[in-house]
């Protein structure tokens, strides 16, 4: 399983692997929104938590179809399905690799983009915490969507349509956590709920994803 993780990471970091694409998209969102909304610091500060979370979510979405598509096309997914490690484990490892390549850079870059959007000072810590807690859940849910649509020729748009409604709870609690943190209010409730959703998704969804993959490989 560690070998599989290293293999996925190597593929992603080499040329054409799509590493940094999500990060660039995230940066674009953070630049375009002030251009569209106007440069007033007060407005930007109020919408900053939401914009940063929506940007992170869309950046995550951008690279989802790569989780299984390449391996499905060249047949290595069939080999992985017959390998001695369970397919559920393969799914979990691939979701983890997706998070390391897409989610973790977003977490690290988010405070810098927070400066661009005049995020209040108290919010930075909570922004990092919320993304750190939330993005693994996004990867796990996304892997499920990718597993459902892996056999389709043009599954990209369908994948977004399937996954976005599933992202709603994570987005709400994540953005709420940053908003409350930035305003200096109590954050315990959204914090716990966000962590709960991510842990639940990471624990249960690999089983559903592996089921969907088995159906698609039949």
């Amino acid at each position: 399983m560690i070998a599989l993780l290293l293999r996925d990471l190597r593929i992603a970091f080499r040329a054409g692997g799509g590493f940094g694409l999500g990060l660039a998209f995230f940066l674009l969102v953070a630049v375009l929104v002030p251009l569209g909304v106007g440069p007033e610091g007060g407005t930007l500060a109020r919408i900053a938590p939401g914009i940063l979370w929506v940007g992170a979510l869309l950046a995550c979405l951008l690279s989802l179809d790569r989780i299984f598509a390449l391996d499905f096309e060249d047949g290595s997914l069939d080999l992985l399905a017959t390998a001695p490690i369970p397919l559920e484990g393969v799914v979990a490892v691939k979701a983890l690799a997706h998070w390391l390549v897409t989610g973790l850079p977003l977490v690290i870059a988010a405070p810098v983009l927070g400066v661009l959007l005049h995020l209040p000072e108290a919010g930075y810590g909570w922004l990092v915490v919320s993304l750190l807690l939330g993005t693994p859940g996004l990867s796990a849910i996304g892997a499920f969507g990718a597993a459902l649509t892996v056999g389709l020729k043009r599954g990209g748009l369908l994948l977004s349509l399937l996954v976005l409604p599933l992202y709603v709870p994570t987005l709400i609690f994540g953005a709420e956590l940053v908003k409350r943190g930035a305003a200096g209010m109590a954050v315990q409730v959204p914090l716990l709920l966000l962590a709960g959703i991510t842990l639940g998704a990471a624990a249960l969804l690999p089983f559903a994803s592996a089921l969907a993959l088995r159906i698609n490989l039949r």
Binding site: G155, L161, P165, L166, V168, P169, E176, A208, A212
Partner: protein, 243 residues
Amino acid sequence: MSLWEYANPKKFTETTARVLPVVVPLAGACLLAGLIWGFFFTPEDYKQGSTVKILFLHVPAAMMAVNAWIMMLVASLVWIVRRHHVSALAAKAAAPVGMTFTLVALVTGALWGQPMWGTWWEWDPRLTSFLILFLFYLGYIALWQAVENPDTAADLTGVLCVVGSVFAVLSRYAVKFWNQGLHQDSTIMKVGEKDPLDPAYYWPLIFCLAGVVLMFVALVLLRTVTEIRLRRLAVIEAREKFE
């Protein structure tokens, strides 16, 4: 005699042919009676005027929008566990009906909200969760259409329906947490409590609810039989090509 006999497509089609001539007129009669009674023979509300009568379309549609999804969940589970094709086809047949009810509930809600709340749309928990439910229906139907092999499509949409249900419930609570709303609570079960539904509206509404439930049953039965026939037609065509 068990319930699973109806998983046989032939038995299902025959029974449907016998049930439909009863259900369709009954649904029509209930709806007609409920709507005419509701629209023309109930008093106007002292605050809301005649707009209150949207109630007779809005409440049944909203109720069935959720119930249709629950029916799809049960049908999907039956398909996943017991592999009865009729069950998968029934789930497929119910999805567009449920989506239409969701849309009706949203549109009538907007028409009602404009004069009452002064806005067509409000990011209220109930409204938002119905919009999200609409997206779930859309994704479900799109996945059915995108996958070519019918058995693969049935399996994948079944998994999606089960996982989607969990997330739909989660979204419902998330959205409630996110915004306190304008929308009032359901009043139909509050008989005998304070602030109940006016008795003048109660019976027409019950007729409308019964009519919509019967209409849903009739539409789903009809559409399931159509799906079964389409499936048969595909088999016949494939066989002819082979010969």
